[in-house]
Symmetry: C2
Subunit: 417 residues, 2 copies
C-alpha cells in the first residue's frame, strides 16, 4: 500500500470504521475507484484498469444513453406499480418479446436475490413441495432462503435443499441428469416433495461451465417428471452474456417455468425481474399477493428500457459473440504457452480459465490487477479465473486483456514465463 | 372508467397482459400517473392529486437536488462495494451520525425487505435461536422469510414465528410486554430458542399505533432477558416520519441491536440499509460473508446522501413536526364532526384515522381520490385511514388535505354530512 497516498489510507481507515465487518474488498491492494467509462475503471492512482470482471455494466460503464434515460425519468416521475404508469408496461412488453412465448408475464424486483427468492416462494406454493435442487457450488443470492441454496459461500445448505454435481471438465448432460435424479431420490427418501431445480444457465460459480448446447435438457425433464418446476437463473448469463442469444437457457433448447434476471438489467441501476408462465403465477396469485415498493418503479424501468435500447441499437449481442470468439481464441493461445492453464471454457463473453495448482488463481488475479486488468475467481476450489468484460468491448481492448493476462500468468508463475 | 379515455383503457389492458396476476392497482378507478412534483401526483386525466399516502418521496416527488445528485454520480461512476469508493463511506458516516453511538456499523441493501431479511439472518446466527416475535398484523417484507413474519398479508406465520398483539386503542406498554413474554413462553414450550423481536417503531400495519413515548421499553427488556435481539424496523417510521426525531425508536428511549431502514432513504431510488452494533455484526461475520451487488453502489449512496442534505438544509424534521401537529389537529376536528371517526392516532406526519363501520374505510379512500387526495388503509380490519404525506408538505397543503378528507367522509358516509 506504500504506493498509494494519504487519501487512500484515509479512505480505507474510514471505510473500516463505518462499514460492517462482513464487507470485503477485492485484491491484496484494494482498488480505489474514482470514475469509469466503457470498459475502463479509473483509479485514484491515476491509472486506468480494463474491467473484465463486472457483468453489471453490460453496455459499458456510465453509458450516456442509460444515464440520460434515468435522468429524464427521475426528473418527471418515480413511483410504484400500484398506480397505472407507462414505464413498467413498456418494459414488460419489451422483455417478454425477448423470451419464448410460453414465458408471458413479469414481476419486477430490485435485485436478482429478490427475484430468485420470489421464484422459490412460487415453486413451493404451486407444487406444495419444499424440496429444491441446486448445483454443488451454486450461488443464488443473499436472502435467508437463498443463502441456504448457495453452497459456494461455505454455508450449510438448508433443510430440503439438495446438491447436484457439475463436473467442470467432463460436462456430461446425462451424468448431470443422473445427479438431479439422485437428489430427487434423496428428497423423497426424506419425505420431502420436489419443488424446484434452480440453476444458472452457465454454471458460473461452479467454475464457469457452459455445458455443451442442450446440456440442461435431461435434467429439466427429470425435475418435471418429479412434479417440480425449472427455474433458470439468468442473473449472470442473461442479457447476452453467453453470446448466442439474449438468454443462457436458449443455448440449451429448454423453456423454463420461471426465469430470474437482474445484475446487468439496468447497467447498475437496481432493477431485476422474475418472468414466468402465466398459469404458474395464476396458481401462486390464488393464495398470495406480492408488492415490491421499488420493484418496477418508473425510473428502474427507464434504466432497463435504456439497456434494451442499447443492446439493439449498438448490435451488442453480435459484438459479444464476435469478441467472445476472439477472446476465447486469445485465452486458448495463453493456455498453449502457460503450463499452469489446465482448461479454458466459456460461452460468449463469459470465460473461465482453470489453473493448476488452484492457489495460483488468486495470485494471477492480483498480478493482473497490477497489469491493469480486472478479473476474479470462480469454482469450488477458486481455481478458475472468471473473465466477463462488458459486452461492448472492442477488438483492441480484447487484445489488451489477453496480453495483460499473459503478463499476469508469467508474473504469478515465473516458471512459465 | 367511462370518465377516462382510450389511452387509459389501452394502458390498463396492456398492463393486464404483461404483468403477473399478483399485481394490484389502487382504487376502484385506478390512477394513471404521468408526472409528479412536491406533494402532487399529476394524472393523465389532467387533474392533480395531493399525495398523502406515499412515504417514499419523503422530501417531495422528484426533488431537484436528489435528481441532480443521482445524475451527477450516474454519469461518473456506478459500481459496488468491493472496490474502495467514496460514496458508501460518506453515507455510512452521515447515517451513523444520526444514530445512537452504540449503533456503529452499516450494511447497505437495495430494499427494506433485504435489510429485514439480513437482520433475521444475523439474529439467528448470533443467538443460535430460530424464534422470532412480530406484532399481530405486522408487515416486514417480501422475501420467503419475511412473508412468514408478515401476518397482515393473510399468510400463515412460519415455524418459529410468534405474534404479540397491539391494541390500537388501549396502547398499553405493560400489556404489550406481557404479550411478548407470552410469545417467549410459547416458543420455549415448543423447544425453540428466542432470536429476535422485530417491530415497527410506529405500528403502521397494526393500524397506525404510535404507542405513548417509551412504549417499547418493557418489551425490549423482555426479549433481551430471554437472550434475543431487538430489531427496530424503521423502513416506515425512519427519516423523520414520526416527527420528534429522525428515527421512530428515539420516541421510545430504547437503543436497538439492529436498525433496518429503506423506503424514504433515497426518495424513491432503491437503497436501504441495516445499521447495527459492531459486536453483533462481528459475531455474524465469523461465520458469514455478505455481499449485495447493488447495495451501497455509488449512485444509490449519492441518492441517500442527497436526501440527508435536503433533510438538513430545508429543516424538514421541524416542518414534519409542525405540519404533523397541524394535520393531527385538523383530523381531530373532522373526528368531532363525523361520527364515523372512532379514533385518531399518530406521531409526526404518520396519522391513522379509524372508522366505524370498518368497511367504510375503503369507501373513504376512493371518495378521497375523487376529491383529489390520496390516502390508504391500515390495520387488521383495514378500518384505519393511513395518512402519510411527504414531510415537506406546507400549511396550505395540509389544509387542502383536511378539507378533501372532510368532503370524502361526507360523501362516503352521507349521514355524517
Amino acid at each position: 500500500m506504500e504506493s498509494q497516498g494519504e487519501e487512500y489510507r484515509d479512505a480505507l481507515a474510514r471505510r473500516q470504521r463505518v462499514l460492517a465487518p462482513t464487507y470485503r474488498l477485492f485484491y491484496d491492494e484494494p482498488l480505489y475507484v474514482k470514475k469509469a467509462e466503457g470498459v475502463w475503471l479509473h483509479g485514484a492512482d491515476g491509472r486506468r484498469y480494463l474491467d473484465a470482471y463486472n457483468n453489471v455494466p453490460v453496455v459499458g460503464h456510465c453509458h450516456p444513453h442509460v444515464v440520460e434515460c434515468i435522468v429524464r425519468q427521475a426528473a418527471v416521475l418515480n413511483t410504484h406499480t400500484r398506480y397505472l404508469t407507462d414505464a413498467p408496461i413498456e418494459l414488460g412488453e419489451r422483455l417478454l418479446a425477448t423470451l419464448p412465448r410460453e414465458i408471458n408475464c413479469v414481476t419486477f424486483t430490485c435485485s436478482g436475490s429478490e427475484a430468485n427468492d420470489l421464484a422459490m416462494r412460487v415453486c413451493k406454493s404451486v407444487t406444495g413441495g419444499q424440496g429444491a435442487i441446486v448445483t454443488e457450488f451454486a450461488y443464488h443470492g443473499t436472502t435467508e432462503t437463498l443463502a441456504g441454496m448457495s453452497p459456494v459461500t461455505g454455508q450449510a445448505t438448508a433443510h430440503g435443499v439438495f446438491k447436484a454435481r457439475i463436473d467442470p471438465v467432463r460436462n456430461d448432460a446425462t451424468a448431470f441428469a443422473l445427479q438431479v435424479e439422485a437428489a430427487i431420490g434423496q428428497m423423497r427418501a426424506a419425505g420431502i416433495r420436489p419443488a424446484a431445480l434452480l440453476v444458472d444457465t452457465i454454471f458460473g460459480s461452479d467454475g464457469v461451465v457452459p455445458g455443451p448446447a442442450g446440456f440442461l435438457q435431461p435434467a429439466v425433464a427429470a425435475i418435471r417428471a418429479a412434479g417440480g418446476l425449472f427455474v433458470a437463473d439468468e442473473v449472470q448469463p442473461g442479457f447476452g452474456r453467453t453470446g448466442e442469444g439474449i438468454w443462457g437457457f436458449q443455448r440449451h433448447g429448454v423453456v423454463p417455468d420461471l426465469v430470474s434476471m437482474g445484475k446487468p438489467m439496468g447497467n447498475g441501476h437496481p432493477v431485476a425481474a422474475l418472468c414466468a408462465r402465466r398459469e404458474v403465477m395464476e396458481n401462486f396469485a390464488r393464495s398470495t399477493r406480492y408488492f415490491n415498493t421499488f420493484g418496477g418503479n418508473t425510473v428502474a424501468c427507464a434504466a432497463a428500457l435504456a439497456v434494451l435500447d442499447v443492446l439493439e441499437r449498438e448490435r451488442v449481442l453480435a459484438n459479444a459473440l464476435a469478441m467472445g470468439e476472439r477472446l476465447q481464441r486469445g485465452i486458448s493461445q495463453l493456455a498453449a504457452r502457460h503450463a499452469c492453464v489446465s482448461s479454458v471454457r466459456g460461452a460468449g463473453l463469459f470465460i473461465g480459465m482453470q489453473l493448476q495448482p488452484p492457489q495460483l488463481a488468486a495470485r494471477v488475479v492480483n498480478a493482473a490487477k497490477r497489469e491493469g486488468v480486472l478479473v476474479g475467481t470462480a469454482g469450488g476450489a477458486n481455481d478458475t479465473i472468471k473473465i466477463r468484460p462488458p459486452l461492448v468491448i472492442g477488438a483492441d481492448e480484447v487484445d489488451l486483456l489477453v496480453s495483460g493476462l499473459d503478463r499476469a500468468l508469467a508474473a504469478a508463475s515465473p516458471r512459465d514465463g
